[in-house]
C-alpha cells in the first residue's frame, strides 16, 4: 500500500502574526516557516504504518512556489520515500488543493491519504473532506487513533461530544488531530540521506485542474484587542470585583 501525505509549509506556530498596516495581508517576509504541525503528525502516522508493515511507500506532497523543494526535503529527511512538488506561484485554495490531490491519487493509487485536519495559516479545515467527496471515498476527520486491518481503517475521531469511532473501507482519507502521535525529530544523517531521495516536480498547470472560482480576500485586519485589565490581590477582592460586575 502507498500512503500519500499532504505536507504544507506555513508560518511557524510560534510566530506572532502581524497584519500589514494597509490591510493587504499579513507579514510573511523574513518570518520563520515550518511544516504545518498537523501535517507533521500526518507524516509521522504514515511512517509508523510503514514501520508496522502496513505500507510500502510514503509519498509527501507539497503545492507551492519553487522554493518549496527545501521544505519537502525535510519530509524526506523525516522518512518519506519520495516527494512530489506541485509547482505554482499562485496561492491555492482548498478546492484546488483537493483537485490536485485527486489527480495524484488517480496516478499513484494509494490505499490511504493522510492530511492535517487544518493548516494553521488559513485555518480552513476543508481539503481532506473535499478530496474524499471528489474521490467518492470515506473520510475520517480529526483522527486521534488509527488502526488498519482487513482492508479497512478503524479511526477514533475527536469530536465535540467525545470520542467517536468509525470504520472506513480503504482507500480512504484521514485527517489528523493533535493527539494522534508525537512526530519524530529529524536527525542530521537523515538530512544527508534525504538529498538523494526522489523528488519530482510537476507544474500545477500541467495537471489539467480547474481551479474554479476562488474566494476573494479583500481585506486583512488585526483582531480587536482585549486590553489588560486590573489585578486584584486576593480571593476576597476577586469575589468583590466579580460581584460588582454582576457575574456572581
Amino acid at each position: 500500500m502507498k500512503i500519500l501525505v499532504g505536507y504544507k509549509r506555513v508560518v511557524d506556530y510560534n510566530v506572532r502574526i502581524q497584519v500589514k498596516p494597509d490591510g493587504s495581508g499579513v507579514v510573511t517576509e523574513g518570518v520563520k516557516l515550518s511544516a504545518n504541525p498537523f501535517d507533521d503528525i500526518a507524516l509521522e502516522e504514515a511512517l509508523r504504518l510503514r514501520e508496522k508493515g502496513m505500507a510500502e511507500e510514503v509519498i509527501v506532497i507539497g503545492i507551492g512556489p519553487a522554493d518549496l523543494t527545501a521544505h519537502l526535503r525535510n519530509g524526506l529527511a523525516m522518512g518519506a520515500n519520495r516527494a512530489i512538488h506541485v509547482s505554482t506561484s499562485e496561492a491555492v485554495q482548498p478546492l484546488t488543493a483537493a483537485r490536485v490531490l485527486l489527480k495524484l491519487v488517480e496516478k499513484e493509487q494509494p490505499g490511504l491519504v493522510i492530511l492535517g485536519k487544518q493548516a494553521i495559516d488559513d485555518d480552513a479545515n476543508q481539503t481532506g473532506q473535499m478530496l474524499a467527496a471528489l474521490w467518492d471515498r470515506p473520510q475520517a476527520t480529526f483522527a486521534g487513533k488509527v488502526e488498519i486491518a482487513d482492508g479497512k481503517a478503524t479511526v477514533t475521531r475527536e469530536v465535540d461530544a467525545g470520542l467517536e469511532t468509525i470504520e472506513a473501507e480503504l482507500p480512504a482519507v484521514i485527517t489528523t488531530d493533535l493527539r494522534l502521535n508525537e512526530p519524530r525529530f529529524i536527525k542530521l544523517p537523515d538530512i544527508m540521506k534525504a538529498k538523494s531521495k526522489p523528488l519530482d516536480v510537476v507544474e500545477l498547470s500541467s495537471l489539467g485542474v480547474d481551479s474554479g472560482d476562488h474566494l476573494k480576500v479583500t481585506h486583512y485586519a488585526a483582531p480587536p484587542k482585549r486590553g489588560r485589565g486590573v489585578m486584584v490581590k486576593d480571593a476576597a477582592e476577586l469575589v468583590a470585583a466579580l460581584k460588582q460586575k454582576g457575574l456572581l
Partner: protein
Amino acid sequence: MSKILIIAEHLDGKLNLATARAVSAAAAVKPEGIDVMVLSDQPDAIATEAAAIEGVSKVLTVARTENMHALAAIVAPQVAAAAKGYSHVFAPSTTFGKDVAPRVAGLLGVNQVSDVMTVESSHVFTRPIYAGNAIVTVEAPAGQIVVATIRTASWPAAGKAASTAPVEALSLDVALPTHTRFVGLKQGKSDRPDLQSAARVVSGGRGVGSKENFDIVYKFADKIGAAVGASRAAVDAGYVPNEMQVGQTGKIIAPELYMAIGISGAIQHLTGIKDAGTIVAINKDGEAPIFEVADIGLVGDLFKILPELEQALA
C-alpha cells in the same frame, strides 16, 4: 434574493443549540427564507425543536435508517441534492459542521467560507485566520452557491418563534455509500452545563498538575454552576478528556465569565476565549501571557486561592 439551507446538528434525538446560532447568521443575510434540514432515522422530535426557532421558514426532514448516525459520507450527498434552489448552505462550525460542510462544498464544486464571524452582505463575510490573529474579509463568487460554516461563538442563538414553522418530509433520490460505518461514541458523562453554551466556564491548565488535582477545579465550577474546560496542555497530559479542550483546535467559546486557572495563555488557547465577556486569570506566574488579556488577574497559588474563593462565596 437569498434562500438559505441550514444543516441541523443533533445528538440523541435532541437539537444542538449550535443550529440556532447558525440561524442567527442566516438571518443576517436577510434572506427570503431559512430552511432547516434534519437528517435522522427519527427526525420528528428534532424537527419540532427546529420549527420553534425564530426566523426559520420551514423544516425539511429526511428520515432514513442510514441517517441514524451523522457520517459525513452519508449526510453530504443528501445535503448536496437538497441544496438545489438555495443560494446558501450553512452549518455550525462544530466538529459536525466542519466534517460535513466541506464535503458538501466539494460535491457542489465550490470553495467554502469557514468560521463566519460577521455577515457583510449576501456574499461578503469576515472570518478568522492564523488562530484569530488576523480577520479577513472574503467575498464568495457571485452566481454560485455559498457553503459556509458559522463560528458559533460569534453568534447568539436565535430565540423562540411566536408560531412554529411548518415541517415537511423530503424524499431525495440519492444513493448512499456503505463504505463508512459508525462503530461507537464514547461521551463524557457530565451533569455540568454544556461547555459550548454555558454562561460561566472554569478551565484548568498544566498548572493544575494532575488528573486528581483537577477535582479542585470541578468543585469550584460546581460551586458557581460553571462548565469545565481545559487547555491543550491539560488534555495532552491526560488530566481531562479531549472534549474539554478550549482553543484553536478545540472548542471556541463565548461565556459571560471565563476563569482560567493555572493556564499560561498560549495564543492557541486565547483564540478559543477571546469572545468571552469577562476573563479572569489565576496563575502563580505573574508574567504569564494570560494576564495580557485578562480583565481581572490574580497572581498566586491556585490550590490556596480556589478554596478561599469557595469560602468567600459560602
